[in-house]
Symmetry: C2
Subunit: 351 residues, 2 copies
């Protein structure tokens, strides 16, 4: 197999997470899949930009620079510096772009333009960026199709826990009639801690210290993040046409310790549950809201930063997948699994 040329746009926790997996797995990927790669450019708004199409970049060194708090364009990496992300995408001769910039749920930028530019210039795209996929799924999928390129986005929902590839490759021939899940790790962590007796304020502060929640936490606690995720899931898994703006959304800020104690007295738990259901009119409706779950509900037992998705289908009873919902390792692995899926790489059966 030929060497796959990769350009990274966005090289924060998730982009670096993917790069670490690629470095650690280099030998294994070559041995198991015959897969070889070369990272030809990295462009990050904070860490700078560097490109070396001919020799490829020294990826371990790039990661080391980041670990030491240095910039990518300080001269230690051999290559051309100073290109903007857009110019990097446009001019790079990469086969694929790994887009891992920050999520913007207002207009999807700059990720949206990055992905459009990459597809238009004939490159496959793997992205962890929820913004463009939540806001412009239809447009992006159509563009990828018209250009004969692939667009994969496993890590946008439940990080490296498979949901999109699960539907695509493991539930073939099944029609998905509904989904429900716990899609935000921060709020699930807060609710778990509150169930153990902690206060909302105390726990929120702790999640901010741990780096789970932003200083401005409304993306999580007001449920914008899981609303974006259920939008993506509904559209990609159920072939729906859900608009992010139309998702019924209620966060966890109005839940008191009292509510949780009362629930526990009745052997119940409060969880922030995202759902998408196809109505009798064929339309899919999506919502995110705090929900009282009985002890018999598997999702009642998904605790801490774990995420879960329950998939209802026409062919058999529900299948539920539970796994990490955040973190550089997991989201980075989600990106790597996309890279391998784009090239349709399968584990060899040696025997």
């Amino acid at each position: 197999m030929k060497e796959v040329r990769i350009t990274f746009v966005g090289f924060g926790t998730v982009g670096q997470g993917c790069a670490k997996h690629l470095v650690r797995s280099k030998r294994y990927l070559k041995k198991e899949f015959g897969f070889n790669y070369k990272v030809v450019a990295i462009s990050d708004i904070v860490k700078g930009s560097v490109r070396n199409e001919k020799q490829g970049l020294d990826l371990p060194k790039a990661l080391d620079l980041c670990a030491r708090g240095k910039k990518l364009d300080d001269g230690e990496l051999k290559g051309e510096i100073g290109l903007s992300p857009i110019d990097t995408i446009k001019t790079s001769k990469a086969d694929m772009v790994v887009e891992a910039t920050w999520t913007n749920l207002k207009d999807g930028e700059p990720g949206l333009t990055h992905i459009v530019t990459a597809l238009k210039s004939g490159k496959d795209v793997a992205t962890s960026n929820k913004g463009p996929i939540a806001l412009a799924y239809k447009k992006l999928v159509n563009l990828a199709k018209s250009k004969g390129r692939q667009l994969r986005f496993e890590s946008t929902v439940m990080s490296g826990t498979p949901v999109f590839s699960l539907r695509e490759f493991c539930l073939r021939g099944a029609q998905i009639i509904g989904i429900r899940g716990i899609l935000n790790g921060t709020t699930n962590y807060i609710l778990t801690e509150m169930a153990a007796g902690k206060s909302y304020t105390e726990t929120l502060k702790k999640t901010q210290e741990l780096g789970y929640a932003e200083a401005e936490p409304s993306g999580d606690v007001e449920a914008f993040d899981p609303a974006a995720k259920i939008t993506i899931l509904a559209n990609a898994l159920m072939d729906a046409e859900v608009d992010f703006a139309d998702v019924e959304r209620e966060g966890i800020t109005r839940i008191s310790s009292d509510d949780i104690t009362k629930a526990a007295q009745n052997s119940k738990r409060i969880k922030l549950i995202a759902t998408a259901t196809r109505g009798e009119d064929g339309c899919v409706k999506a919502s995110v809201k705090p929900t009282l779950l009985p002890d018999s509900d598997m999702l009642a037992h998904v605790n801490g930063v774990m995420n879960a998705l329950q998939i209802m289908m026409n062919v058999q009873p529900d299948v539920t997948v539970i796994g990490p919902g955040a973190g550089g390792d997991s989201a980075g692995y989600g990106l790597m699994s996309d890279i391998l899926a784009i090239h349709n790489l399968k584990v060899k059966r040696r025997r």
Copy 2:
């Protein structure tokens, strides 16, 4: 896409389950995948054998005959009758054989010979039969490889809940370092009922009445069934060389209501847990035994006939999949998903 010609060998609950899905989904499969099929032969040791290579068999009628307790060879279905399963496989011009005969963990027969014969005569195989895969995985995979045919067996473990396709298509590039799960629905149902205050004897009787357990229940309660499944999982997911006979195995017959009550008093549950772990010497060891699980363990909350598998890997925290572990609908869907995977059919993105 050309029409795929299918031969069924074994047409009990699971074979019929697959056939029902194929009938119900015929239009959908054509529309979504351009997939068309023709069932050219069915051979069942009890229901008889019928073959019609040219026109194909009337599958809805075959199912109707079974529903009415009639035999397949009573003249209502047009075609040649009386061929043995082996002759059906050998002489049929099918592209693939769906092998759904009963599991035999002594020598894998007759399924083993059916699969070998199918592969040798150049046919792909989808099987729900645990015997041949648990006892002769290496031999069968090698044979399939040497013949350039595919052998898929999704429904041998956890029925239609994806585990093999999950590893193959969704966890690409990950190295599996361990697995643990609840792989037998009958014993999990018994343990769940016992935790709710019922006695072992009473519950076993009920599972036999419900058709979950056999009249001779040792395959379940002495854990032969989950031992076969963990053998298959270890070999297929971890590239191990586990022998079924070497699996450490303890059933649930020695568990008393007292044990379960005591566990509950400490917020614990007893579950029949199958595990496979790679030791420091690189060898994989597998076991099945009753295990005391804390409330914080997700598997403690998998109840009734549900099955679950937790997958530990090198790239990210564990992923757990939970779903149906038995039943004609689910196992039949597992077979259908194998048929579609063999032909690498993917859901079209319409937009």
